[in-house]
């Protein structure tokens, strides 16, 4: 029932905007910054941020935001990040996570990586709902956001073979399959890559490639031309 309380806390529109702002930053956010971003007074923002921390949607800590330390640096400021734990409510009660874990465990033991990837690719194609492949990074961002990946553009600083041209890639802050991916990484990350390849389509202007980093989705989406040698 705690999860219901957490979700109910988001019903307040100001609180929800504060939550969405902090979640979208992917880093620690102070009270002043959050208040400014949402356009409310600092005290009101502080009240709502603490409430969000209380129900477990945010985690709070304290940090000296000025970078100074010692006497005169001021009190440490309270900062907030989104909690890593996931919150879900299903009415009536459903338990797809246990089903997913059991199916993944069986697929892992049976070595069904190829079969799972083929199914994921077909599902991705079906989800795209169009014969044409995804048209560009912006369209890819929209498709990924709709599926909960929390995409963001990042400058590719060290793209090999590309001279001078400023290129961007799409990285994803959230893995929609996080829990089961942590338990069976090669199997589930491979499934996720195949799903995204299907979603983006074959031989289009953008493509998905595996490029894992700690704390993020294992896939990056980039312009297909970037890596044609």
């Amino acid at each position: 029932m705690e999860d219901i309380e957490a979700i109910a806390a988001l019903q307040d529109p100001v609180r929800r905007r504060l939550y969405e702002y902090v979640a979208a930053q992917g880093r620690e956010v102070g009270r002043n910054e959050a208040a400014e971003a949402v356009g409310v007074a600092r005290t009101l923002a502080a009240h709502h941020l603490d409430r969000l921390a209380e129900v477990g949607l945010l985690e709070s800590g304290s940090r000296r935001l000025s970078g100074r330390s010692g006497p005169g640096a001021g009190r440490p400021a309270k900062v907030y990040t989104r909690t890593r734990a996931e919150v879900s409510v299903s009415l009536p009660a459903r338990d797809y996570r246990t089903a997913a874990e059991l199916l993944a465990e069986a697929a892992e033991q049976a070595g069904l990586d190829a079969e799972l990837c083929a199914a994921a690719r077909r599902r991705g194609e079906a989800l795209r709902g169009s014969a044409a492949p995804c048209g560009g990074l912006e369209e890819a961002m929209e498709m990924l956001a709709a599926r909960g990946y929390e995409p963001r553009l990042e400058d590719a600083e060290d793209a090999p073979g590309v001279s001078g041209a400023a290129t961007s890639v799409v990285r994803m802050r959230n893995c929609p399959f996080h829990d089961v991916a942590e338990r069976f990484p090669p199997l589930v990350c491979g499934m996720n890559l195949a799903l995204l390849k299907g979603l983006l389509g074959t031989d289009g202007p953008v493509r998905a490639r595996m490029d894992p980093r700690p704390g993020e989705c294992c896939v990056v989406v980039e312009n297909s031309k970037n890596n044609i040698d």
Partner: protein, 169 residues
């Protein structure tokens, strides 16, 4: 040598049965990835050591667990460091394609155990831990990512480094 909890490192052994020999064209893309992936391991945060065959760049020529079985033996400062390298680096791409190159293992193929910092495990010791895991299931002596134990829980099983232990493979 007294092994304090803070001075423990995590040892890791992985065995993989090749579907085709390393010089077979069907294994070529795996062999291509070996250099870059090993280099990224060496540069990874928390990396301590990995087994390398004398005069070679890796341990793929050593076949202590069978003619077609390649082994990876390494030591890391923490479980998180090993996890991030294994599953959150270019290594994951190789793992995701494992069925192209390796047979499916019915028994455990990966084992983790704590060692005193500074101790570099021998291949025999590593294979003993794998046998322990296979025979008795996960325990503080030998475990997996999904069933892990802390160094504190394993403190009585820390194998002290013998004096003047040889550090070569």
């Amino acid at each position: 040598m007294t092994a304090s909890v803070h001075a423990a490192h995590l040892a890791h052994l992985n065995v993989a049965t090749l579907r085709h020999p390393l010089d077979d064209p069907r294994t070529a893309q795996f062999v291509e990835m070996l250099g870059p992936v090993n280099a990224s391991a060496d540069a990874a945060p928390g990396f301590v050591w990995r087994l390398v065959e004398e005069g070679a760049a890796d341990a793929t020529g050593l076949r202590p667990a069978g003619d077609d079985v390649i082994v990876t033996l390494s030591v890391w400062e923490t479980k998180e460091a090993l996890w991030d390298f294994t599953y959150r680096s270019g290594h994951l791409e190789a793992m995701q394609r494992r069925r192209e190159w390796f047979e499916r293992h019915v028994e455990a193929h990966l084992v983790l155990w704590w060692v005193p910092a500074g101790h570099l495990p021998t291949v025999d010791e590593a294979l003993e831990r794998l046998a322990d895991l296979r025979a008795h299931g996960p325990s503080p002596r030998a475990f997996t990512f999904a069933s892990s134990y802390t160094a504190a829980e394993a403190v009585q099983h820390l194998q002290a480094a013998p004096p003047n232990a040889s550090r070569s493979a």
